[in-house]
């Protein structure tokens, strides 16, 4: 029986949420192909939750354990996955910083192409078909993967994790010998632990309309009131040095697909729209009623953000207190 390999991601022993999304997508693809699902966990020891991956659709869970796998080990992970993927019909990675680094390495080692950052996955005549945004989401590209295995990375937040209740039987997978050409020495946490805009279910982004970097405090307060929300930024304010590049949403920044996106004081340049148009619900707050952002927004408020945002934060807090 053909098998789809789902590559999970953990950080120091804890599985990251995107892992469940990748297993869910692998399950859906496997069902179309009449295949089973192997989920693989790469680590230097026990990873909590790896015994529960059957819940998301893994028939087997391959445990690839190696003392060098405390942090990401590009060459070791690539060697292990190239070995694990041989004979599989497809391999699904998360399109995270790690997955984007790793998927092409495995593809190159196996001599097949790789479709990165896909937002839709299906099958036709036994071949894997994917949809991926190109030109920063201005265009959707449909690609058929002719190689075996089909190597795909899945953009976070595009396939909601869904329970399907499979066995998730643990199987030890032997890590092959590898040459570590790159060493990851440490992960420095940012000054304050923040949620990444690509993975947050809610993103509150600000633009030039905020007038001063210190005013992003208003957005941070709104994000805090909303709960699991990240603060994003337009290119204009990143280029002005007000916010980190990692927060930039748009064509030369990140493409995000949260369930709720707030564009505050952002006019809506074409390259910004390209980065957030796949959000489920878009709210725009801008004083210019003709700003292009209102064309893509589901809900808009025309007004002074310095009046609207604090009020919004207050109302959200009230709502949270009630529920």
């Amino acid at each position: 029986m053909p098998t789809v390999l789902a590559v999970t991601e953990n950080r120091t022993g804890v599985l990251r949420k995107v892992s469940f999304e990748v297993i869910t997508a692998a399950r859906q693809l496997a069902d179309l192909l009449g295949a089973t699902v192997d989920a693989i966990v790469l680590s230097d020891g026990a990873v909590s939750g790896s015994d529960e991956l059957g819940k998301w659709g893994a028939d087997r869970v391959l445990l690839a354990t190696h003392p060098d796998f405390h942090l990401y080990q590009p060459d070791g992970f690539a060697a292990t996955l190239a070995a694990a993927a041989t004979g599989h019909v497809a391999v699904l990675f998360p399109a995270t910083a790690t997955g984007r680094d790793l998927a092409p390495r495995v593809a190159a080692r196996l001599g097949v192409g790789c479709a990165t950052d896909v937002v839709g996955i299906g099958a036709e005549g036994g071949k894997v078909l994917v949809t991926r945004p190109v030109y920063a989401g201005k265009v959707l590209q449909r690609v058929r993967l002719e190689g075996s295995p089909a190597i795909v990375s899945l953009r976070p937040n595009t396939v909601p994790q869904t329970e399907s209740g499979k066995a998730g039987t643990a199987v030890k997978f032997d890590v092959p010998a590898f040459t570590a050409r790159v060493t990851v020495k440490e992960i420095k946490a940012p000054a304050q632990a923040t949620l990444d805009v690509t993975e947050a279910p809610i993103v509150v982004s600000g633009g030039r309309g905020l007038k001063d970097p210190s005013n992003f405090k208003l957005l941070e307060e709104l994000a805090a009131a909303l709960g699991t929300a990240a603060v994003g930024a337009s290119r204009a304010v990143v280029d002005a040095g007000w916010r980190e590049h990692g927060d930039q949403v748009g064509q030369t920044g990140k493409t995000v697909s949260p369930s709720l996106y707030f564009a505050v004081g952002i006019s809506g340049a074409i390259q910004h729209l390209a980065g957030m148009r796949t959000a489920k619900t878009i709210v725009a707050i801008n004083r210019d009623k003709d700003a292009p952002i209102f064309k893509v927004a589901d809900y808009g408020i025309v007004g002074d953000l310095f009046e609207v945002v604090p009020r919004l934060t207050e109302e959200i807090r009230k709502l949270r207190a009630e529920s």
């Binding site: 950080r11 590009p74 690539a78 995270t96 910083a97 984007r100 680094d101 998927a103 092409p104 390495r105 593809a107 080692r109 001599g111 192409g113 790789c114 479709a115 950052d117 078909l129 190109v134 030109y135 201005k138 265009v139 959707l140 590209q141 449909r142 690609v143 058929r144 993967l145 002719e146 790159v182 060493t183 990851v184 992960i187 420095k188 940012p190 809610i202 909303l226 980190e244 590049h245 064509q251 030369t252 369930s259 709720l260 796949t278 619900t281 209102f294 064309k295 893509v296 589901d298 809900y299 808009g300 408020i301 025309v302 007004g303 002074d304 609207v308 919004l312 109302e315 959200i316 709502l319």
Partner: protein, 249 residues
């Protein structure tokens, strides 16, 4: 220090994209093309590293049609020493592009090979790291902070919720992210000098690859939204809509 930079010609990020009659490519007429913005960080870093070293050579390699010569000239105007055009219509399969680049770069004896972390047209994030794999070289992707000294590279890259610090030895392949540096604009003197710098054109033919583009489509238009109201008084209604209609809070 001998440094190669791989460069791609891409449509300007501010360009409106329309799909060509074949349904599989974009309409290029009227589109302004620019050097891939992430590749500009690679070009700047190469020029800076050579300046710091005080000796060496920088080479720009681009795979593309004849028109990519213009893009290469832009890199030469910034200060890169010479250019190579691998003349080809390209491929949807990044691995085929990586094979052609690896073949060209293998003989060059480069200490460092730099790419942008991705091209803003196809969003592949893969040609740099694939090229490294094919050449058997260490590779660190999406580098936003870099220190090269004594044959060793120390690099930082952004990952979700943190900064990953990696090291490797030269020769190495790095892909560059925004934040690494501020690319210089070509000065008039550089533009004049670029005209006389060597630019070698080598036709290459790529394999068929294993990815077939079936179609390009414009994403579905978002349904027309509405203005909830003006000023802070509209907030209560907005929160109600987010709660009961959109069901997102």
């Amino acid at each position: 220090m001998k440094i190669a930079v791989c460069l791609k010609r891409v449509p300007d990020t501010t360009t409106k994209i329309s799909i060509a009659a074949d349904g599989k490519s974009i309409e290029e007429g009227g589109v302004k093309f620019i050097p891939n913005p992430y590749d500009e960080f690679a070009l700047e870093e190469a020029i800076k590293l050579k300046e710091t070293a005080g000796a060496g050579e920088t080479v720009v390699v681009s795979l593309g049609g004849d028109v990519a010569q213009e893009t290469i000239r832009t890199a030469l105007a910034m200060g890169i020493d010479r250019g190579v055009l691998l003349q080809s219509p390209g491929s949807a399969d990044g691995l085929e592009v990586a094979k052609a680049l690896a073949t060209e770069l293998k003989a060059g004896g480069f200490d460092l090979i730099l790419f942008g972390k991705m091209a803003v047209d196809d969003y592949n994030h893969q040609v740099g790291v694939m090229t490294a794999e094919l050449m058997g070289l260490p590779c660190i992707t999406a580098v936003a902070h870099l220190k090269v000294s004594g044959g060793t590279v120390e690099a930082e890259r952004e990952i979700e919720g943190g900064i990953e610090v990696s090291s490797c030895s030269l020769p190495a392949v790095l892909t560059c992210d925004k934040g690494l540096n501020t690319p210089r604009l070509p000065a008039l003197k550089g533009i004049m000098a670029a005209k006389k710098k060597p630019l070698e054109v080598k036709p290459v033919s790529l394999g068929a690859g294993s990815l077939t583009v079936q179609s390009l489509q414009l994403p579905p238009e978002r349904p027309a939204g509405r203005i909830v109201g003006e000023g802070p008084d509209a907030v209560v209604e907005l929160v109600r809509l987010l709660r009961s209609e959109a069901k997102v809070i």
